[in-house]
Symmetry: C2
DNA sequence: TTGTAAGCGTTATCAG
DNA sequence: CTGATAACGCTTACAA
């Protein structure tokens, strides 16, 4: 006699004049139900406005119908990164069509992060997790496996992993940037890299090393933590060099923007005296002056492919290695022909 | 005989030599359990490594122990906004200590967004939701109420609302920016506003109108959608004016950065000929040249207060109106003394 | 103070 | 094919 609470399969069963079990079968589209009976049940369910209770389903199936994404970075660093919003949108593209839900957490790498995974697993709040920002010898892989969760890694781990991976060839983007600069006549390049313990930062750096070696030109690499602050500092350092580079390949847009600020502060014209390339193709980059040449990745696609792969894993599929289309270089105003070399031995010509 | 599956309260009960019911009482710290019995139960639970099953608890209590945040924007716009990562970190600060979990979704305002709320509610995936980016006559308020979810709004709605609100006085930030420019001698100011249907954009604009009126100076307002593209376009428009403003107050950092790009492209020195202020205090702003004067809000605090308020609401507390500390203006290089006015009637002096 | 038993809404088993 | 009936793990009256 209380106000109408949500209908359950028992109500549907009563309305359709069958048993609960049959309703469950019919609703889950399983064989073994007469066509007309099934139709009657579906009609009744629709009639009553029945909707499955994820909670009950969850308890009896042992699945959460939820997956987790634990972002292991500080909020400031996440804020400057255009990756996650697009990536998450992609994940949603996949999840929303399958009734899954995304549980998001942020935690600094280390104890705190480990604790988050443990908590998520202990309460069985999620069926699986997406491992982003893969690290060298990433201990999260063993942790997640031990916790009995499904997983998918963004990028191919450098250690054995029981999980599927979805990767993009960062290196292709960096190579494109280097080739672009070389084709513009640059012969002294630098790379401002992210932390080497982050796999994608390491890959970008390796690709840089490789590309400059192939081109047979001078190059120098400075490692940072990916922050604007260190990007600026590294740029200062490079510009202080006797033989300063004429082109700098940054491992992300954030540092490239900061580097552009440094150049401007010093009165160094970009790209006349110095060319810069970023990585991520942040929206804001195209509105700077000069607009930033950058490497565009497909974060949203990445998100949806990773989500699908994870759901497959939850469903028991074998791990797979998925390669995404290579990123592309978007050429804008921050790169240009190498400056005419100063007369050897003297200052400016 | 199967491999050890997780212990349940039944196991704990057996180990402690009591009944399931008592275990539940003891574990939930409820009165009516002898002290030593309680200790014995707790010890047994600890011993067995028992951990509550959120699923089972969820089914029997009717609560999800999860709350939702549906971001009603396109990924591109989210990406450029430093608000959400910090805000979410704040939410986590609160949630993680209470075993709650954050369910995140992104959806364009309109049908798609409504559907997300309905789905979340239908499956009872969340106990409540955080309503961000409040809109004029926001229909999400009635929707969420109708769906029977708890809620908390970021900002005070302009319509009746059954929910608690947590707000920050955006206006104070804008007033500080205007006052700053006025004190530098500026007499022709402009405001590049966000869409008027977004409450906080409207508030910022109203504060601008109010502040310039109080100062008794010329002012013009251009409305945009908060995007860098429109921020740049609006800036172009203002600079094309016969009596172009000498100071522009942007409603967010993203547009301010784009505006700076426009000024630089035109060769207009900042701040010598044009002063700019942003809003949000994006990290990257301090590394531009000149560094961006901007209004800093406390997104993380906002997140934790909103989370707590929402949990209170879920627990049945009466709605409350919480006011956060006012934002503060961070003065950097993009603002300076008003340029000496050009000789009347002639071009440059 | 403690034990018993009835749900919560599904899914899954297993006789009809 | 169909329909009871027992889990799933916890909370919560209600008894004892």
């Amino acid at each position: 006699m209380t106000a109408a609470s949500r209908p359950t399969i028992a109500d549907v069963a009563r309305a359709a004049g069958v048993s609960k079990g049959l309703v469950s079968f019919a609703l889950n589209g399983r064989p073994g139900v007469a066509a007309d009976t099934r139709a009657r049940i579906l009609a009744a369910a629709d009639d009553l406005g029945w909707t499955p209770s994820v909670r009950a389903r969850s308890l009896s199936t042992g699945r959460s119908f939820a997956c987790g994404l634990v972002i292991g970075r500080s909020p400031d660093v996440i804020a400057a990164d255009p990756f996650f919003p697009s990536f998450i949108a992609g994940v949603e593209d996949e999840f929303s069509t399958t009734g899954q839900v995304l549980v998001l957490a942020v935690a600094a790498p280390g104890e705190e992060e480990t604790e988050v995974y443990r908590t998520l697993a202990a309460g069985r709040r999620v069926d699986g997790v997406i491992l982003s920002d893969l690290r060298a010898a990433d201990d999260r892989i063993a942790l997640v496996e031990e916790l009995g969760l499904a997983g998918v890694t963004l990028g191919v781990p450098d250690i054995r992993s029981p999980f599927s991976s979805v990767s993009i060839d960062d290196g292709a983007g960096v190579r494109a940037a280097v080739d672009h600069l070389v084709s513009l006549g640059h012969t002294r390049l630098a790379h401002i890299a992210g932390p080497s313990w982050m796999l994608h930062a390491a890959h970008r750096r390796a690709a840089f090393d490789d590309a400059v070696a192939t081109a047979g030109i001078d190059a120098i690499v400075v490692e940072t933590d990916f922050s604007a602050a260190q990007g600026a500092a590294a740029t200062e350092h490079l510009l202080d060099l006797d033989e300063a580079p004429t082109g700098i390949v940054y491992s992300n847009d954030q540092m490239a923007v900061a580097g552009l600020g440094v150049a401007q502060r010093r009165g160094i014209p970009v790209p006349a005296q110095l060319s810069l390339t970023g990585f991520d193709d942040t929206d804001i980059g195209r509105y700077l002056y000069p607009a930033l040449t950058s490497v565009a990745t497909q974060a949203r696609l990445w998100g949806s492919r990773a989500a699908r792969s994870l759901l497959d894993a939850v469903a028991g599929a074998d791990p797979e290695e998925i390669a995404l289309p290579s990123p592309t270089l978007i050429v804008r105003g921050s790169t240009g022909p190498a400056p005419h070399p100063p007369t050897r031995g003297s200052g400016r010509a």
